[in-house]
Symmetry: C2
Subunit: 222 residues, 2 copies
């Protein structure tokens, strides 16, 4: 370490070095202030553009509602997200009417993903929300709406069999609803990131372009 080369560094430091270190510290303080100002300005730009984007996202949402199964098709065509969606889950996602990503006013503080459903035979909730709180002075934290499954429709109870069947077929063992309800490692929730940064900004490309590597063998079954 440093000590072995400059034995006077900690205690017997000479006056010139002490002054130099103090001068460096001054520079660092000025740099820190500039960094903080830069972050604030960048945040302002992001907030401004989130507001400018909003009417287009709203208009898009209204149009998407006219297209049957828009979101479920975008999801099952998405290379990463499709890997999660088990067969019965796909049936359930046909009732997904609307998907929304809302960043917090201060985008660094987090975001939520909202899944808005039509009346459906699987659960009573109209909205399922997974929210990520990433604020600067807290540990990352996520929370999910508790799903009120209808009688005998609880897909999460079928998880052990599903996982077993998927393991045998060599598929990803996490499923869509197990991802939704899993809040163990919010800082490493890749699926939420992919939804926020890829599916949400442009779902049309996935809706239009079936994924050729999605492991969906329905075509073979039919």
């Amino acid at each position: 370490g440093a000590g072995s080369d400059d034995d006077d560094q900690q205690d017997g430091m000479d006056e010139a070095t002490r002054q130099a270190l103090s001068d460096i510290d001054e520079c660092q303080k000025e740099l820190d202030e500039l960094n903080e100002k830069a972050s604030k300005e960048i945040l302002q730009v992001e907030t401004k553009y989130n507001k400018l984007r909003k009417p287009y996202y709203d208009k898009r949402a209204a149009v998407i509602e006219k297209i049957p199964n828009f979101w479920v098709n975008a999801i099952v065509n998405h290379p990463q997200i499709s890997m999660l969606v088990d067969e019965e889950e796909e049936d359930c996602l046909h009732f997904l009417k609307k998907l929304e990503v809302e960043e917090f006013e201060n985008v660094e503080n987090g975001f939520r993903v909202k899944f808005i459903f039509d009346e459906n035979p699987f659960f009573d909730n109209a909205e399922l929300i997974k929210e990520f709180q990433l604020g600067p002075n807290t540990e990352p934290k996520s929370t999910s709406t508790l799903i009120k499954w209808k009688e005998n429709m609880d897909l999460s109870k079928k998880q052990p069999q599903i996982i077993d069947a998927r393991r045998k077929r060599g598929l990803e063992q996490k499923t869509f609803f197990s991802w939704f309800s899993d809040n163990k490692d919010p800082a490493a929730d890749d699926i939420a990131e992919v939804i926020k940064d890829d599916l949400w900004p442009n779902p049309l490309q996935y809706y239009l372009t079936p994924d050729m590597e999605d492991g969906d063998d329905e075509a073979l079954e039919e």
Copy 2:
């Protein structure tokens, strides 16, 4: 995939759906334009603050030159970078007079790390530069100054023995100069990222705080 649920999606698509998809496409184009404008404004902020930071970095550099062994001590105290520095390399880094990180005018396009040396018994170069070109329309690429080792001082020739000795001691096998000259995977050069985003913005904290886990056993040897 989408085809199995909406068999008319590709060809026999009804007029309302066709119109809806075209409306979504319009929204996406407006969103793309806004995203591009936002990126440009953020880049302008970053460029502005790089210019504002420059005089403080220049002043800091002038002061650092007055402190013997500032950079080698900051480096050997840094938890990640220190892992690379082999004993003979540390001797060589005592001649490191100046370290600089320069981002390109468009910060997204890349950066270079400059190591500026005093006359030294190891090599003839006054500057060793590793440069990362990360521009948007090219594959990431890095290049390094070819080191002109003096006779019998070529530390890279000692790599096989060094690597072998380090493996036996359970240490990281990459060394400082092998990292410097390695341009095989520029997009995953964690060390360059750590130098740019951690050591360079605030070396003082590392200079002042010896790393307790740096595996440097000089104290034991003395």
